[in-house]
Subunit: 311 residues, 4 copies
């Protein structure tokens, strides 16, 4: 049975690759993409999304909805310093023909999920503001989603924006808290999993480049700035693929080798731990688990999944 | 020029009277009503809203949209203890013929305001969750609203749910913070203004009763529980009409005798002051005013406005 | 029976006058003064304290202990902008002969109260850090103090440092919370009481000046900057005497015309209401009263009390 | 040069062993012990401390001062569930002859450090309330301490009381924040270091038992409840020795194989991360390091150090 996907994105490099997985993997179709603020300038991310759809050969076939341009409450600066001004490392891709829909992303999420109860799998690759607004407006959608894969947070490990917090949840802690506590069937891909198991090394990046397809050429070009940033900032070789893991485990569940159900929650009142995700690994909170946290992946199968969609 | 109104409500007694003002005052038409959780059971409030529309003679003519059933983050219990289980003091009114729309209230707010930029005046009579979701999803609507009248908060005075906070803002501090900082043209009617200048005394209530119209009979019946609660809890005679003031000053601006522009903001991290509204009367915050706070009203004109719509 | 007083001070103008009341009123003796950071430079405040003791004729007879130079956690800037760099409006008084003790103020408070259980009345005229450290170190002292008069907070009214908070509690909210919840027999003199009932008008200031005693000359000189600041900032004539009220009602209880027992607490987690004092006038907290809040004073008797100690 | 030690303790099992290290290791003398609330009933911990001193052969020679019986602000329940009611697993040891001093622990810390500037090394094995009060009362003592070894917090790893927080810092986050930011020369032994490298396995515990000295018999008896608790709760064999590591690295610095300077701070406003220690391993805070965090120890040398003091 083919997965019906909605991607919620802030399209810079890895968001685009996650979209490629959703669009081009045989197990899934992407039926809508909702854009949330995040990595770079909002309008640029809309263009990046439309261009990625075009590269994948789906131009004009997958509606793109524009959503939240700011966090609920937190102040906001985008992360262009990580991804280059255009989110694709200055690749300067051409403008796609497809234009975004006029319906708001939050309204679209509410409508689509209600019209197709139990059908959609959502890949949440950005701060969770679109999803938070949607589920706050209509609490029933949490129970009408088949699966919600979220890239965000850390599992009792060091963060990236601060030692306490990962970027997606740090940008909008209130939204993350709303979504994680709303009753969605959540699977979490955390930042530390990405750092330890979600990287492609240089040999793998060369293997991708050698495919020499439109998709692989797009990958190589778009990925360049990220490789440099990760090397400089985190001192590691290769590139990190947090969003792609989230998409890949949705379409290829065997990638997950270990996942544990935990109670998770987000710090929204923090002075220094704002956006911190508590993963109750010590079972002291008294709360039942509300998320499945991926703790180990089959890295080779993940890479093969990427190769497949880029071929 | 006739005002085009949207009421955002949690319909118990005074919400209904505010709706009557909007619907029946010659200066205004109500074009939509959005329902937010608040005073009593959500579905009951939808019924209360539909019934109020019917009583006013507009049954089937004003669409009612169902919105947020819970605050963004705060835990929630309704305020049935104030308003009786049905929000009308157990009046047991019949069920209206009109049914709510299928479109979600948040989606409707985004759509209506975008389709009619600069046109709508909104009367916000409930916790601000619907409006917060709408403006978070589409930041542009703040600049496309003609006026936003909000009942909520206190102006450096004691609250009602706690000493620090008034009910509407206490129920969803995050939503209140979002809305007050979104750039809407806000006019605030605070709880302390209601307590000092927004009450009808027993003579006035008898005068209303003596009108003996369908609307006045509805008023008297629906108002009963509130009179008793206010007497018992706040030790004051008569009934309080916070939402009605907000509606009345929208349709009859001369009711406002004094209003001051202040910077206002909401405490969302409080341990004991959660939901507190800061009204920067000492001008120490360094922020420009973002709200017009009503500080004195013409009580007689307010009462005459109510009499007019009940006649 | 003569009151045995300890003053906890941050000696600028009004602190000095409060000390004069304690030292020179026939109902009281001052046995110790503990200095806390606050109004101006710490060492200057120690000098101000010593000089005030000398002016009052008690040089060498009342030990002065140096305590906390910073709040527990909050960052700190002193309030020289209110009081002039020296806290006495640049009066440039000579240096007193008496020097401070070597024992720390917190250690001294613990020792003195334990050695004299049930004996001391404390007049707390500064941020509450000294007292907080003392009672945290030895919880038993709360029950060994006869009375604790505190100048701080607001009673459901606008503050001075921010709209939410009064200076003494704003400087160290954690300390204020510790002290108010420690079980001391607390009487509170709030900022709003000071503003409405604790000012001397210009005629009264002239009457003080006309006394022409060393104390009245000191008063006039030291008070000058405060008069100008209050006029400029709060737009009111005369000078405000928060600390003096606290001292005056200790030595002359008839000054209090109305006081009510309330549960009070301090906001220590606030984003905008940091240092706010909740005064539970609506009795919604479920907590028993822990402070007597002065709500009305006999202004003439207060002035006469000041005249007496300056004569 | 012999280290001059002050231990700040909440004496249950491992606190006692840490005291044994301080007292009996040839590199150190213990000159004072200050008792802070924590593991079990306060008076019991005073007795445990006095008994431990007696067992070590120092009865009557090391003054014991009683300090804080409650956290600054946080509510408090002791941890008897971990350590047995008496903190020694119900060992029912006899009462020591030595009695505590009358001087308060906070006053004693201020006095001792000021009288011996640059001399004392402090081993902080309990919630940091005593030290926080002392340094808040006299900020200068932070610069007059030779070294401050603290057991507390986690280094980007899961906690014990909650997933976010370790017990000592969770009990009094405000105190921990005060001490870590006061300018002391801090070395931190974190909970995760204890769990991974600070345990004695069953063979080691048998080796200790086989020493058959008064100290080893005391160790075995007092340690019993802890072994059982750790097995049940954390699912690990052997016993954990957080406080002993802190004492051991003070007297035997070679035990530290890796330590890194980080900026650390404590969450005091948290809704779910209260007491969390941020260890800025990603260097994103912009703050200079304020603590040396031990990241790897020589486990065999640690064990040999314990064997030595028990022999
Ligand atoms: Ca992303
Ligand atoms: Ca209402
Ligand atoms: Ca003062
Ligand atoms: Ca300990």
């Amino acid at each position: 049975m083919t997965l019906r996907l909605i991607h919620d994105v802030d399209t810079a490099q890895d968001d685009a690759f996650a979209l490629l997985i959703g669009m081009r993997h045989p197990n899934s179709n992407v039926e809508a993409v909702t854009v949330n603020y995040g990595n770079v300038n909002f309008d640029q991310m809309v263009e990046n999304t439309l261009y990625t759809i075009e590269v994948a050969g789906f131009g004009g076939k997958i509606p793109v909805y524009e959503g939240c341009r700011l966090p609920l409450i937190a102040p906001f600066d985008d992360s262009s310093y990580v991804h280059g001004v255009d989110g694709f490392g200055g690749a300067n891709f051409p403008k796609a023909k497809q234009r975004p829909e006029s319906e708001n992303a939050v309204a679209a999420l509410i409508r689509l999920i209600n019209e197709n109860p139990g059908e959609f799998t959502i890949i949440a690759q950005a701060p969770l503001t679109n999803l938070a607004c949607a589920v706050a407006a209509d609490r029933s959608i949490a129970g009408k989603v088949k699966d919600l894969f979220i890239m965000g947070g850390t599992n009792n490990a060091v963060g990236n924006v601060t030692a306490a917090a990962e970027a997606n949840f740090w940008h909008d802690p209130e939204a993350a808290k709303i979504v994680l506590n709303a009753g969605f069937p959540v699977t979490l891909v955390t930042w530390d999993l990405t750092m330890t198991q979600g990287r492609f090394n240089e040999a793998q990046l060369r293997q991708i480049d050698a495919l020499d397809t439109p998709q692989s050429r797009f990958f190589t070009k778009a990925n360049r700035a990220s490789v440099e940033y990760v090397k400089k900032t985190h001192g590691v070789e290769g590139s990190t693929h947090p969003d792609s893991i989230a998409a890949a485990i949705a379409v290829e569940p065997a990638i997950v080798k270990k996942a544990t159900d935990y109670y998770v929650d987000i710090e929204t009142h923090g002075s220094i731990a704002q956006g911190y995700m508590l993963v109750d690994a010590v079972r002291r909170s008294g709360h039942e688990p509300n998320a499945r946290v991926v703790e180990e992946i089959d890295q080779e199968l993940f890479f093969q999944t990427m190769l497949k969609v880029l071929s």
